[in-house]
């Protein structure tokens, strides 16, 4: 045996690998296929290791776009979204996207590079304490100090991101850790626990439901997140109890189902809000009594007891006292409740349900508006009908977001991607990218406004670069419409800083990015425009001109209860 041969290590001993290579190999091991990001100095070793890997990296044109795309990818695919950025400005540009994921409980892992540990705390170039910056908006975070910890940290981060109540996890990797060579990565053992409530608690919930005369099922985004959609639908079918939904839960009950009254809250339906106000029991599944849903909390559902199902014990009783709190995974707990209900006599709430079904039909949204201009609600309704069951709406934030919620038809919760908790303008375009990559066969339509689209318009370059066949409807009222609406009603028409009439020509902008685009100016162009949009095989943008004075109705004024809805004239 030669001396050189003797230096070979035994086959069982792994060759030393850099921290950066461990990042990539661990992501591959975890089944990550898609990630979004933007390189820079402090994350260059990872980008170096990325070349030649099986991971598909989508280079966005701003880190916020990368974070939003990862968030949306997670919402639609059900997988953990992954985004990466460098230190300093790269990391801080992720912050809004991280907060967005936190507020809507979206599983996301964000990997940031940072300066080497030796200069940390010395105000080094592009040094920011991103761990400190993001502490309030992450489910958890890590500063990794040894390369050997990388596989365990990443695996644990994925586990934390998707388990229990999901949320974003940040992993900050100093540059020296990315370069560090190690042959003995630390292992980890993770258990997948399911939290199921005790049978006695389910029995209490059942008893409360059986005793109620005017129950309402109040569905939140947790139903989708926990995979409990079918259990919720079964409960609704079996009991006939009227159902209302938060913004983030739309689609859990398909639009148009008999006892589904629509969205509750500030821009909810009159039937949904009035049924809740009159109810004697709210069965709350995966919702957190968000103020946009409850209106004035002290006057929300004043006669109702609450049975609250949630994975997060800190949500139960946080804002509303409950009669029965059922902590744990929604799916097994609702399945247990359904089994128990099925074994007993049928729930008898027909009169109550019939009344609200009739009211819901009588007060259905009106698709007619005077004039020749484009009426956005009608356009959106026609769009969702023509797009069919494969439709996914990736919304921006503002008036159009509420019109989508009110007028589009959703057959599943993944079909409605919206920034609910944070309400972050700029979400729509990168959200469309993430959704389309998550479900390539779906008809994904970004619905945005002239305010929101300008906040991440650079992502048109991402759409073009990867030839992502995303459809974009840009509803342009040359205003910050929702702010304008509030100024009209609550600030004595003092229209302060809402005029965007100097917007660029969005058709030319899209074309400059290499994307087909056209304009819709009048109502008679709407149907043909939707047809063109849906028929296009590549990315396409429809620039739709709407009336700056169109408002979102109904509206619960701030500080009022949900029964005090305003209905406006169109």
């Amino acid at each position: 045996m030669s001396a050189a041969a003797a230096t070979f290590k035994p086959a069982t001993e792994a060759a030393p690998r850099s921290g950066a290579r461990l990042v990539v190999s661990t992501l591959e091991k975890l089944g990550v296929e898609v990630l979004f990001g933007y390189p820079g100095g402090a994350i260059m070793p990872i980008y170096d290791a990325l070349a030649g890997s099986k991971l598909r990296h989508y280079l966005c044109r701003h880190e916020q776009g990368a974070a939003f795309a990862a968030d949306s990818y997670a919402r639609v695919s059900g997988k953990v979204g992954v985004c990466m950025a460098t230190s300093g400005p790269g990391a801080t540009n992720l912050v809004t996207g991280i907060a967005n994921a936190m507020l809507d409980s979206i599983p996301m892992v964000c990997i940031t590079g940072n300066v080497a540990q030796g200069v940390m705390g010395m105000d080094a170039f592009q040094e920011v304490d991103i761990l400190g910056v993001t502490l309030p908006i992450v489910k958890h975070s890590y500063l990794v100090r040894h390369a050997a910890d990388i596989p365990a940290v990443i695996e644990e981060a994925f586990h934390i991101a998707r388990s229990g109540r999901p949320g974003p996890v940040l992993i900050d990797l100093p540059k020296d850790v990315q370069f560090e060579m190690t042959s003995e990565p630390r292992g980890i053992h993770l258990s997948n626990e399911t939290y199921i409530a005790e049978g006695a608690v389910i029995a209490q919930a059942e008893a409360a439901i059986r005793a109620a005369k005017k129950p309402v099922l109040y569905i939140g985004g947790g139903a989708k997140i926990s995979g409990a959609v079918e259990a919720v639908r079964e409960f609704a079918r079996m009991t006939g109890i009227p159902q209302v939904s938060t913004l983030n839960a739309l689609g859990t009950i398909p639009t148009g189902q008999d006892n589904f009254l629509g969205m509750l809250g500030m821009h909810g339906t009159r039937a949904a809000n009035e049924a809740v106000q009159e109810s004697d029991l709210l069965i709350v599944v995966g919702a957190r009594f968000d103020d946009r849903a409850t209106g004035k909390l002290a006057e929300f559902a004043p006669h109702a007891g609450v049975v609250h199902f949630d994975i997060d014990p800190s949500e139960i009783g946080k804002l509303r006292k409950v009669a029965v709190g059922v902590t744990g995974d929604l799916k097994p707990n609702l399945e247990a409740l359904n089994a128990s209900l099925a074994a007993g006599p049928a729930i008898a709430v027909n009169d109550w349900a019939d009344r609200w079904r009739a009211q819901s039909i009588a007060q259905a949204f009106d698709y007619n508006a005077p004039g020749e201009g484009v009426f956005a609600p009608q356009l959106l309704n026609e769009l969702s009908k023509k797009a069919g069951p494969g439709f996914i709406a990736a919304c921006d934030v503002g008036q159009h977001q509420m019109w989508v919620a009110q007028y589009c038809e959703f057959s599943r919760p993944q079909a409605h991607v919206t920034s609910g908790g944070l309400g972050s303008m700029g979400f729509g375009l990168p959200a469309g990218i993430g959704a389309k990559l998550a479900e390539p066969d779906a008809c994904v339509v970004t619905i945005t406004g002239d305010g929101g689209v300008m906040m991440n318009i650079q992502e048109l370059a991402t759409v073009n670069r990867f030839k992502i066949p995303l459809k974009i409807i840009l509803l342009d009222n040359s205003r910050l419409g929702m702010v304008r609406q509030w100024q009209e009603f609550f600030f004595e028409r003092n229209f302060s800083e809402v005029d965007l009439s100097d917007n660029p020509d969005f058709v030319k902008v899209a074309e400059a990015f290499g994307i087909e685009a056209f304009r819709i100016d009048s109502r008679d162009q709407v149907s043909a425009g939707i047809d063109r949009l849906l028929a296009c095989e590549g990315p396409i943008l429809a620039h739709v001109i709407i009336d700056p004075e169109d408002n979102v109705w109904p509206l619960v004024p701030p500080g009022k209860n949900n029964a005090e809805m305003l209905e406006g004239a169109r």
Binding site: L131, G132, L135, P136, H140, Y142, I160, R165, G317, K318
Partner: protein, 84 residues
Amino acid sequence: MSDTIHIQIDRADGALQRLIGLVERRGFFIDGIDMASEGAALNIAMTVRGRDAGRCIDNLGLQIDRLIGARRISNDAAFRSAAA
């Protein structure tokens, strides 16, 4: 009214900052804090007071319990144990 919460939490980057930030963000004043390390953990006694009547110490306990790395939490009334 003040309550003293006893928390044992993994010693990790940002652990103390995370805890203090959470308590303040959830609407509590921190009137006092004592801390000692014990192996890989920090033992913390924190005296807190709600900013208004709407702040519930039990709910704060549940929020702290959600922190990854929180091992044990109890107040003087031993309202909750996160320990397995």
